[in-house]
């Protein structure tokens, strides 16, 4: 199973409520996946800076003095905000590779959850309500966000196996379904030099999109080609800095419901996840078509493209 929720705000007046609305949506989906939960929030941006969200199972010791140590190693100043097992490190834009190298050098077993100008990803093993409370997601504001609650099938229940997966700067992916060709695709992508950490099938899906985009594809094109290259069941929801997209495999067994009003576009694995959204009784509610890439963006008009 697994549950997915997504909320893309058109009306900035709702931005302070983004975390609260997404948390309620995610908790409703608990019985679709109680193993782990995660949420990606697109929030504030500081010009000239980027955010690196990192995780540690021993945050008290690992994060102690990390900002100073990292700043010293990079020769710059680093701000840090710790939330439970995660910390958001704010570093100068364009210093990602030096930050990665410095973190490896510092060698405290830190895992990178996400990178980007506005994206922060929080995910852990446990029930959605506990995960959301641990990171105080309900108090976060933002322009859009996606969440996932996992019922593990293809790999172990771990923090790194939780969704969303970060696929590139300000990009993330959540998945309901299972990929059946992930082993061969993982080998292929590793040969292409793509870093894949776990034996998880969705991470391969995320890495596939990263690889496509590194080779010049747009996110829309990468999603389109995923319909040909990924074998298995999937409903994907992807987030980017300015919007979010949805694609379902051609068989479309995995459920998906969308709702749109003047204020937002919302995604839920089930309608249940959407019932408390403001104005839902008058929203346009529909099921996204199979093998069709939908995309909503703050910068551009919405699109939907059916695979040939």
């Amino acid at each position: 199973m697994c549950g997915i929720v997504g909320l893309f705000l058109k009306d900035s007046a709702l931005e302070p409520q983004l975390g609260e609305l997404l948390t309620a949506m995610l908790i409703t989906m608990t019985d679709r996946g109680p193993d782990s939960a995660g949420i990606a929030i697109y929030g504030d941006e500081t010009p000239g800076q980027m955010k690196l969200t990192v995780q540690s199972d021993t945050p008290e010791t690992t994060f102690a003095g990390l900002d100073a140590a990292l700043g010293k190693a990079m020769g710059t100043s680093v701000a840090m905000s710790v939330k439970s097992t995660h910390a958001v490190l704010t570093i100068p834009a364009g210093t990602l590779s030096s930050a990665r190298a410095a973190l490896a050098e510092i060698d405290r077993g830190i895992r990178i959850m996400s990178r980007g100008e506005t994206l922060e990803i929080y995910k852990e093993v446990g029930l959605p309500k506990d995960v959301a409370a641990r990171f105080d997601i309900a108090r976060m504001s933002g322009t859009h966000g996606i969440g996932h609650t996992r019922m593990a099938t293809e790999s172990a229940v771990t923090t790194m196996g939780a969704h969303p997966f970060n696929t590139g700067d300000d990009q993330c992916l959540v998945h309901n379904g299972s990929l059946s060709n992930h082993n061969s695709l993982r080998r292929k992508l590793r040969r292409e030099g793509i870093h894949i950490e776990t034996e998880n099938d969705t991470e391969v899906g995320a890495a596939y999109l990263t690889w496509q985009m590194q080779n010049g594809a747009t996110l829309g094109e990468a999603l389109q080609s995923s319909l040909d290259d990924l074998d298995g069941f999937f409903t994907f929801v992807v987030g980017t800095k300015d919007g979010f997209g949805v694609v379902r495999d051609p068989i479309a067994c995995k459920p998906a419901v969308m709702a749109e009003t003047d204020q937002y576009v919302a995604f839920g694995s089930e309608y249940r996840a959407l019932v408390d959204l403001p104005g839902i009784e008058n929203a346009r509610v529909w099921e996204p078509e199979p093998a069709t890439v939908y995309f909503w963006s703050h910068d551009k008009a919405p699109t939907s493209k059916k695979a040939a």
């Binding site: 479309a252 067994c253 459920p255 419901v257 089930e270 309608y271 249940r272 996840a273 959407l274 019932v275 509610v285 529909w286 099921e287 199979p290």
Partner: protein, 227 residues
């Protein structure tokens, strides 16, 4: 009219109350408020009662229905009316995937569209959709009628047996062993009866009939490629 607030008494209590109605109950009209997309609302009913759900429902609403009429004033989730035996289900909005799967009898009416696999493995149920249906509808349909006033998606009636399909609009593609058939007077009569029963105003002569070409009934080595 008896009103049940689903959020107040919960699903089990709601269904238990409806199941307690006997064939000669005088409480024949029920209304369920605050369904909030919940699963399995009004499942397993077996009494001549009419239940109206005021809002959208989740998985398996009115599954295994016998005798009862269930109205859904909203859209319906996956597997609505699964294995319906008799009675009637009317959905004012859209229906999600595998509507009326394996249904043996009764009537399901959808005022909006139905999604993929509508009427999969139907065994005698009649389904009338005012809008369109998705891909793989009536897959392995064995008996009963599927009426589509709009269009049908890919692979309509794949591997079907003796179910009949009437489509007014276009069919994106026909499934294996499904073919277009002649619309004879008896089929016009069947279709007219179903449209009347569903309360849908459409001219039966505008529909095309599809059904089994009966080539896959028995194994034939020349058909191996079609399996």
């Amino acid at each position: 009219m008896q009103t049940i607030d689903l959020t107040e008494i919960g699903l089990r209590e709601t269904n238990k109350t409806l199941h307690a109605q006997s064939a000669d109950t005088n409480q024949t009209a029920w209304e369920i408020v605050n369904p909030r997309g919940s699963h399995a609302i009004a499942c397993g009913l077996d009494a001549p009662i009419e239940v109206t759900v005021k809002g959208s429902t989740g998985y398996y609403c009115a599954g295994m229905n016998q005798q009862a009429t269930v109205n859904i004033h909203g859209s319906a989730g996956p597997g609505t009316g699964e294995n319906i035996m008799s009675g009637k289900i009317v959905i004012e909005g859209d229906a999600s995937q595998y509507l009326g799967a394996t249904g043996h009898g009764g009537l399901i009416v959808v005022k909006g569209n139905a999604s993929s696999r509508c009427g999969i493995s139907m065994k005698g149920v009649n389904i009338v959709v005012q809008g369109s249906v998705g891909h793989m509808s009536a897959f392995m349909g064995q008996s009963g009628n599927l009426v589509v006033c709009g269009d049908a998606g890919d692979a309509l009636g794949d591997s079907c047996y003796e179910a009949r399909f009437f489509v007014r609009g276009t069919v994106k593609s026909l499934g294996a062993d499904c073919e277009k058939k002649e619309m004879r007077p008896e089929h016009i009569d069947i279709l007219k009866g179903l449209l009347d029963e569903a309360g849908i105003d459409a001219d039966p002569s505008e529909f095309t009939r599809y059904g089994s070409a009966r080539n896959l009934y028995n194994f034939d080595v020349d058909n191996a490629g079609a399996y």
